[in-house]
Subunit: 338 residues, 2 copies
């Protein structure tokens, strides 16, 4: 029955006794309006409950103010933390976030990007999955900006933000050795994300350089349950490891719980554990996990900063920029010493 009846600039103009242009100008920063006209317009707008139609404005300006966040597994601690940081900064920058949930299939990222194009988003930020090359190119050709976070891709065009996963994984070997550990293990998931694999390779390489073998196991998705299963597999071996680097904090929490409650092992006395991400739960006293911190604030800052910068500056680097960030090791109680 009562269809949508938004009040338009025309109505405000009529009530204020000015032209529609005057209304438009009062709401456009930097336009020329006399103080008196402005006052009358604002008064009428307030009385009528007028709000600029961003759809129409976006149509004219060819700039919607929308930024698409393309994410899978939003409910995961690390993802949601990054999401919070990004939305906060985007809002401060005068943008608004459009959230698109993807599953783990590749097609869903493509669908998300199509959605972003349809809404004429100013930019898309991809936190999960990889877009098809042709779609990504289409976005770039349309003048949409693209940011890939922790996706280690070589496509030219988008801004790519990555951590020093490989190098960080090396540092944890040092920490384990210093704690007196000799039988190293790496617990990974099967998803094979570039950053996860980089951690694995970095860990193995650093251990090998010291003449040590690493037993690697991969299972399931990168969550708590997978960590438990990995522990069950790796701790029933005749040769139990005395140090495990888990590709993710969630894996580490699951691993630690299984080690303690199912195998009655004490951490860090009989088993040292390290994780990656520094999710909130890592600091909870039941886990007290030594781990690498994802610099979420820095990631979000770099992203939004790049997006708010005028276009021309970026175009200098035709091949798109690549930003490397450092993952700091947060010392807690799951590795001896320190």
């Amino acid at each position: 029955m009562s269809e949508k009846v938004f009040v338009s600039a025309k109505e405000v103009a009529d009530r204020a006794g000015v032209s529609r242009s005057a209304v438009s100008r009062t709401f456009t920063p930097g336009a020329s309006v006399s103080a008196e006209t402005r006052r009358r317009v604002l008064e009428a707008a307030e009385a009528l409950g007028y709000h600029v139609n961003e759809l129409a404005r976006g149509l004219m300006r060819n700039e919607s103010g929308i930024v698409c966040l393309i994410v899978s597994d939003v409910a995961t601690p690390y993802r949601s933390a990054l999401l919070r940081e990004l939305t906060l900064l985007l809002q401060k920058a005068g943008k608004v976030a459009m959230l698109i949930n993807t599953d783990r299939s590749d097609g869903s990222v493509d669908r998300a990007l199509r959605q972003a194009i349809r809404y004429r988003a100013d930019a898309s930020i991809i936190l999960s999955g990889m877009p098809d090359r042709s779609i990504a190119q289409l976005c770039l050709r349309s003048g949409q900006r693209l940011v890939l976070i922790n996706r280690d891709d070589e496509q030219p065009g988008p801004l790519r933000i990555n951590l020093d996963d490989y190098e960080a994984a090396g540092r944890v070997v040092t920490a384990f050795v210093r704690a007196g550990c000799r039988k190293l293990a790496f617990a990974n998931s099967e998803v094979g994300t570039p950053s996860l694999m980089a951690r694995e390779r970095g860990f193995v390489a650093a251990a090998n350089a010291l003449g040590m073998e690493v037993s690697v196991e991969r299972y399931g998705w990168t969550g708590y349950d997978a960590g438990k299963v990995l522990a069950q597999r790796m701790l029933t071996h005749t040769q139990r490891p005395d140090a495990v680097f888990c590709a993710t904090d969630l894996l580490a929490c699951g691993f630690m719980d299984a080690a303690r409650h199912q195998f009655s092992m004490s951490v860090p006395d009989q088993l040292c554990i390290a994780g990656f991400d520094d999710i909130e739960q890592a600091s909870w006293s039941s886990y007290n996990l030594t781990t690498f911190a994802q610099p979420v604030s820095a990631i979000a800052f770099k992203t939004v900063d790049w997006l708010s910068r005028p276009r021309a500056e970026n175009d200098d680097a035709i091949h798109g920029q690549s930003i490397g960030l450092h993952a700091e090791l947060v010392w807690r109680g799951s590795i001896r010493g320190g």
Copy 2:
């Protein structure tokens, strides 16, 4: 330099050798186009990389397809789980989610709703905070739909979804008594959300009805750290409680960790604990927390279902609908017996 250059229906029409209307109709379900025309249009659209401009379409149809999610503390387990569920269902319903982060000030919810109006959102879903009455009315007058989740407000117009917090809190008293507990306590935060307060009142009332006193403490925000502080306060009393109902799972996790690691108490032998929300961590074996499950899927389903239903049906109930959902008690190991 390279400004945004999206391809428009006009260009597709030229290339396909048809009128622009034909293009429009091809992308409008239920419009009348011959198979041949449709084919040529689709072919041209594919070749040019055409995508409908939802901004313009929304302008015409007066229906943007956008639904605003207004949330604070997105990174919190319960909130992010609800967020995931909502975005997934909205996408399935052909809508798209616009995420607006609020801080805990009231004004920020109002600002968010203004944003929603400016983007002509079809609906706004409020998960945190309370909008000012006048703004809410403005939204409703504009034909925007409003959903309040766990906000227990009496405003007419919006759909209100609430849990049986009060009654649920009573059930936990029964469970504590059955476990042999006699000194009951309630750990709450200071934020005073209607649902949190309902849990407190329900718990106290049910205990009183059985002739038992409840010691109530309130502190800080509703997170893990607050739970720890609450434990430090409540467990240093000369009269230690032997059962605590925490208003939130996060509080419960903090409380439990402090009880175990700082006061060396064993749960559930010396202290029974219950929480509320059933966040993922509640099921982790370090906590194994008995708690009430937020029916996130049901909440999301009811919400999206209401939004996709045609307007007329809802208008029958002038005062807006109110949906009550049941919080199921999930039995785990933090209460003896069961």
